[in-house]
Assembly symmetry: C2
């Protein structure tokens, strides 16, 4: 390369650092910027990490046999059986995604909207993201017809898209693409000979456990790489652990060789003590499964309450069915926001919420949407308490909204939003789901 690749700080992490500084300065802030999960480490995992503190060898680049076997079992229980030899562990699924883009090469198709780092990572490896919009309310998966069109146009223009990334369930929208959309998407990805990189880190956070998200690996098993980690379901972001499941096919085996080589040159191996605890977690003993179920119910309760405040204030919002994210659209209030607050885009709206009210959210352009969009993403995962004691209480609470610190946070959001939009509906009716 002759000039360094363009790169900007991860929008979520940057916003988090700004909020942390304001909090340290004594300001009252409501952090809804990043999806960091503000919940404690499960005691069993804490103990296993502590007991593994003498593990100081690198071990295999792809992760320990125990961790890979546990991850394979985790996928097996979800209908995605895989041999442990096709599992690669890394220091976070973010690092694995970056290494995958490097290993696959070519340009990367990204949904619009999508997580802040896909497009940034693609640019870092010298690729260009090919943006393709989602279908309304079906976040994380590019509209299959527009995918075909965009890739055809890109190839005709001499570009070389080789992969497409999807997020099932989705960040930022908190929605889950319908099974039929995933099926049609997978068929088009095969037709276009694209490798599918399916980020399923929110897989365990679908509220309705009777209807789990469908992975594209079901429909295009020969070309779909699945990644996940323990950052979201077990709040272990700071431990840095993720796993990738490679397809059992020629594509998959060739990619496995390249991915492990890339990993060996960038990070050597995932942190060894963390691998021991991660292997335990992926084994899904009942105490861990129950912990995840509690966090899922907590997210659902708080997300729904916050969603009511947004819709009550007049924002449009597709029903959230997974994760800890909301992606409300203030388009119905565009005239009012412009006239009353001089706000004309998502960035202006996020700025107003932060500067005037101490409420941190991210504008939609961080997720690849046009700057003019009045969408924002809000995460509820930092509202559960500012001490481990409160967070533990929140996890165990039958109705988390009865806890004063959570109720206050939700009410504060309601007040800020109704103040912003002059709405009077302070406790709006719940919006029915389809």
């Amino acid at each position: 390369m002759s000039t360094p690749a363009p790169v900007s700080m991860s929008a979520t992490l940057a916003a988090d650092e700004v909020l942390a500084r304001r909090r340290r300065a004594g300001e009252r802030v409501l952090a809804m910027t990043s999806g960091e999960i503000g919940l404690p480490v499960h005691p069993a995992l804490r103990e296993r990490l502590a007991a593994a503190a003498d593990e100081n060898a690198y071990g295999p680049v792809a992760g320990s046999p125990a961790l890979r076997a546990a991850a394979a079992g985790y996928w097996q229980r979800r209908g995605l059986g895989v041999e442990p030899g096709l599992v690669v562990a890394g220091p976070g699924s973010k690092a694995l995604l970056f290494a995958l883009f490097l290993a696959i090469g070519g340009d990367v198709v990204v949904p619009v909207p999508s997580w802040v780092s896909y497009a940034a990572q693609a640019r870092l490896v010298g690729a260009r993201p090919v943006p393709v919009p989602i279908l309304p309310g079906q976040g994380g998966v590019p509209d299959p017809e527009r995918l075909r069109e965009a890739v055809t146009v890109a190839r005709a223009a001499g570009r070389n898209p080789r992969s497409v990334v999807v997020t099932v369930p989705d960040n930022p929208t908190g929605t889950v693409a319908a099974p039929d959309t995933v099926r049609r998407f997978a068929a088009v990805a095969r037709e276009l000979d694209l490798v599918v990189v399916s980020d399923e880190i929110y897989c365990d956070l679908v509220y309705d456990t009777s209807g789990p998200a469908v992975s594209p690996a079901v429909h295009a098993p020969e070309r779909t790489v699945v990644t996940t980690g323990l950052t979201k379901n077990l709040a272990l972001g700071g431990w840095r652990t993720g796993v990738a499941r490679l397809p059992d096919s020629d594509i998959g085996r060739a990619l496995h060789t390249r991915l492990v080589s890339v990993a060996s040159q960038i990070w050597s191996s995932p942190p060894a003590p963390v691998q021991v605890a991660a292997a335990y977690a992926f084994g899904e003993p009942p105490e861990i499964t129950e912990h995840i179920a509690r966090s899922r119910r907590l997210h659902e309760a708080v997300v729904r309450a916050v969603a009511d405040r947004f819709t009550g204030a007049g924002a449009a919002l597709h029903p959230v069915s997974a994760t800890c994210y909301l992606y409300p659209d203030f388009e119905p209030l565009r005239a009012h926001l412009a006239e009353r607050h001089g706000v004309r885009d998502g960035s202006g709206l996020a700025h107003l919420l932060l500067e005037r009210h101490g409420v941190g959210v991210l504008p939609a352009d961080a997720f690849g949407e046009p700057r003019s969009s009045l969408r924002i993403r809000a995460a509820t995962s930092r509202l559960y308490g500012d001490s481990d004691e409160r967070r533990t209480t929140a996890l165990a609470a039958p109705d988390p909204l009865e806890l004063p610190w959570i109720r206050e946070a939700v009410e504060r959001i309601g007040e800020v939003l109704s103040g912003l939009t002059n709405s009077t509906a302070r406790v709006p009716a719940r919006v029915p789901e389809p």
Copy 2:
């Protein structure tokens, strides 16, 4: 990019995995391939990691304030004072080096020989390595005159070298570039406007503590990035922790911004519990300093004994003055090796040593030397014992060569080498240092 970057598995890690498989299969192997340090975790660090097992937040991308302050103090005590705001921590100095190459952009000048991953990382980020030989016996730093020539030629050919990486003390040669060489190198790097990336991970492993290695940051402070970690001095490779010290200059501050952005998109933050223990280690309390001193003395004793076996067998070897590496050259035995064993290059020699004798070493071409070279790199750091008990005993031993398992390993190397070369000198005289 239209095709994926070329990449091969890290030679050291690949060789390690082969040896581990052979050992599991019950074969007798002597692992001298990788520089992984086979020594136990210091109990104080083990305790601190265990106590930090509830740390699950990402924290700042650049690492915790405590870790950055501790690393700044570590450098301050070595005459390289820096404000903590210019320190960036990552999951291993390997990851930091990769991110630095990405952040700096352009082609990368690498010494020949040099660590297996610099050139591989440069290729991964789409750059081309510009190889420049070292001066004899002064490993890790390109010959200043040949550096000027190579960069001038590369620029005339339209290439854009923007950085040069050095290793002080050096892997693979176990030597330390002379202060005057470093001074002249730094002057040429400034003249050529190159950013210097100085990998100083072996800084604490110079045998003669009265004459530490000189960092190029002393002579070109405005353009030298220094990296280090705890992998070598405290045997914490599996914990994945490293730090970078950026220059206090316009170059340094611009690079800091880019480096943190790259880090935010690849790994988010270093593993949080490890950061707590690393902060303690970089604080250098007496128990840690003493532990490092013991490991340094252990390396020295075993390296010197093994070096004697190599020179006694007729290989040429520049005196080793740091690290746990030897880089003997079998050129004086070329005719004999070809005639008797059909060995014509380093790769053939390494193959013979492994297949016939179970002795794992790496050929010089892994370090960028011509394939025809008869140099190999041998690391002693896995000879200290195969249990934590033996390793702890080795660390404490006044004369480690009196321990039966270390003596046996050294003697076995001697036997293999004399068998290979028909030399009779089984306990050769020590080669005098200059």
